[in-house]
Symmetry: C2
Amino acid sequence: MSSIIKNSILKMSAASLHTAAAATSAAPLATLDASKLQITKNPNPKTPLPNDQLVFGQTFTDHILKIQWNKTKGWDAPKIKPYGPISLDPSACVFHYAFELFEGLKAYRDSNDQLRIFRPNKNMERMNKSADRIVLPTFDSEELIKCIAELIKIDKHLVPKEKGYSLYLRPTLIGTTAGLGVGIPTDALLYVITSPVGPYYSTGFKAVKLEATDYAVRAWPGGVGDKKLGANYAPCIKPQLEAASRGYQQNLWLFGEEKYITEVGTMNVFFVFEDKATGKKELVTAPLDGTILEGVTRDSILELARARLNPEEWTVSERYYSIYEVEERAAKGELVEAFGSGTAAVVSPIKEIGFHGKDINVPLLPGQQFGALTAQVADWIAKIQYGEEEYKDWSYVVADLKE
Amino acid sequence: MSSIIKNSILKMSAASLHTAAAATSAAPLATLDASKLQITKNPNPKTPLPNDQLVFGQTFTDHILKIQWNKTKGWDAPKIKPYGPISLDPSACVFHYAFELFEGLKAYRDSNDQLRIFRPNKNMERMNKSADRIVLPTFDSEELIKCIAELIKIDKHLVPKEKGYSLYLRPTLIGTTAGLGVGIPTDALLYVITSPVGPYYSTGFKAVKLEATDYAVRAWPGGVGDKKLGANYAPCIKPQLEAASRGYQQNLWLFGEEKYITEVGTMNVFFVFEDKATGKKELVTAPLDGTILEGVTRDSILELARARLNPEEWTVSERYYSIYEVEERAAKGELVEAFGSGTAAVVSPIKEIGFHGKDINVPLLPGQQFGALTAQVADWIAKIQYGEEEYKDWSYVVADLKE
């Protein structure tokens, strides 16, 4: 076959066979190994900013974790180095074909000065799924978590104190192969940068207005909407601008003729309905059908809601539901509340949804910017994140900063 | 509104308002201006490789064209510099959210030593459409073409001689804003690199086998499949690997329940049917409905076919057609030929299509690797590209290398 596709951008299949051959006939590829970690300290450590000056993802800590991968060698030794620029050939495949994916998670300093990460195994699992989907290298999740723990420890002076503040962690994986053929990346760079961040809502919850969007589509069956790929983000900015021009902060992404509700902006979304006849309430979110990001916060909310809400009063559903259902139930007084969910805000209350020129009002508690369950869920998760409450292995202690 | 979304990744709408304000109240932004071009020559010019060693997109010329953009200043002076790495902050938005797009076009040396580009205005028009779709800056096409012409001239010693050989041009536009909020890029870099390339098929046409793919979907109405964004490429690699594992070189992308034929791999695709009853032939490709890349070669083939094929014998159609139609017409002996179209290969003949475990045989001329129209179209376009024939303004003379 290789002769057919020589000198061509159809050479993908040859590259595939090549990779397969390398994997079976050559020495086993090196795996990602935290014990090989090499650390070069930044000689100019930063002074922490006051908490009230922290802006999401705008300032970074002193160090970066970098791990190179090559298809014939596997994973190189992890390296922690002073934070600094990444230098790549202009033909690197990350610049042309979006070989890129990321994760977002947070480290929290608890009241005992222990450093904790919330469910990092879930993020690592998803990161590996994202990598597999665009044929970037996968890795041992536990080993990467160990390296990230070292990265956080070395920059512990920059992890903000005070509940609500945290260190945002951004693992990123990019294809770095130089050359313009559209093919499997032969080289990749996994890196992690960290940013001290404040609470999403610095003055308490602020409910947002959404525009239900059907002219643009975020994700589709057979696509990659369930993966945390760069490819899912840039195309969503223009629809967001259009929504903003009409006074809405975010898009509520609809799908299909049925106008199913899928996600909001870059978050998953939950609605609460109450059946007036029975008085029973339902917490609803869209099912993971391949078009919905497999949010860690989404998963955590579903599990806690199923464990903690009284089943006599509540149903927790992953099912299809449409903007028409929301419209109807609002009209009947059965729409109770709605919120987005994600790592950045945990929950983000919704107060209004514009759809085809009409506004659907979403109730909030009297005089508040949130609904009852929204606040409840935020509290459940914050308590686990900050170690005030242990729940299974969700809060992963990285380091004891008292030592 | 800005207070609502302070310190949040919902700050997009604020960014939007900010940009709008800057555009209306501040000094007008600088436009891309070729007259400001600054040139720094590479002190170590390369020796050209022999033509038979040229591999698509693997070697580059001595220089790179770079043009920085900033939202408050507009376009900086274009700069031609020695080819070298691009250095960006690890938080740059191109690495996380796929703020990236590109173009592909070629410069040809004709028999009079004139350097020509094929329809560069079409590529520039498409590049601006891609930029607008992901809120990267747009620019004056003519000015960029002038800068590209200077880039080619300065590296003219590396433009291969001989018909079939050319200089592949890769204009690229990336968002370079540092910071992890998902927002409108405030900084961008437009750059152009060039690569001497040989003919796509070094030993004449080689017809390819395609796997008709319905489990993965390349593009969707309301998506960005008609734009040349990086986001459209990485997700297509895994399905291509799967096709390759079953012996097919590329995917024939289907869409919807109807299993409409859309594109092949990274090319547009054409089929030729013959109505047995009337003897009339039809050249068919999918319509530009937002899911189909607006290929310059596709457009050129349609125009030349409409102008040059005898309308008594031929119909040229942009219409929906499905894999089922191809299957049926193949069974009736009405499938004449099929080919992909794109800048790299111009045309790429197809000999077989696998669909749900059965193979559809696509005829080739006896003893050949192509069909009659495939060869005819390739010849039409090559003659214009190499200046053997003038057709409208399609062949744009960049420089006279005799001077």
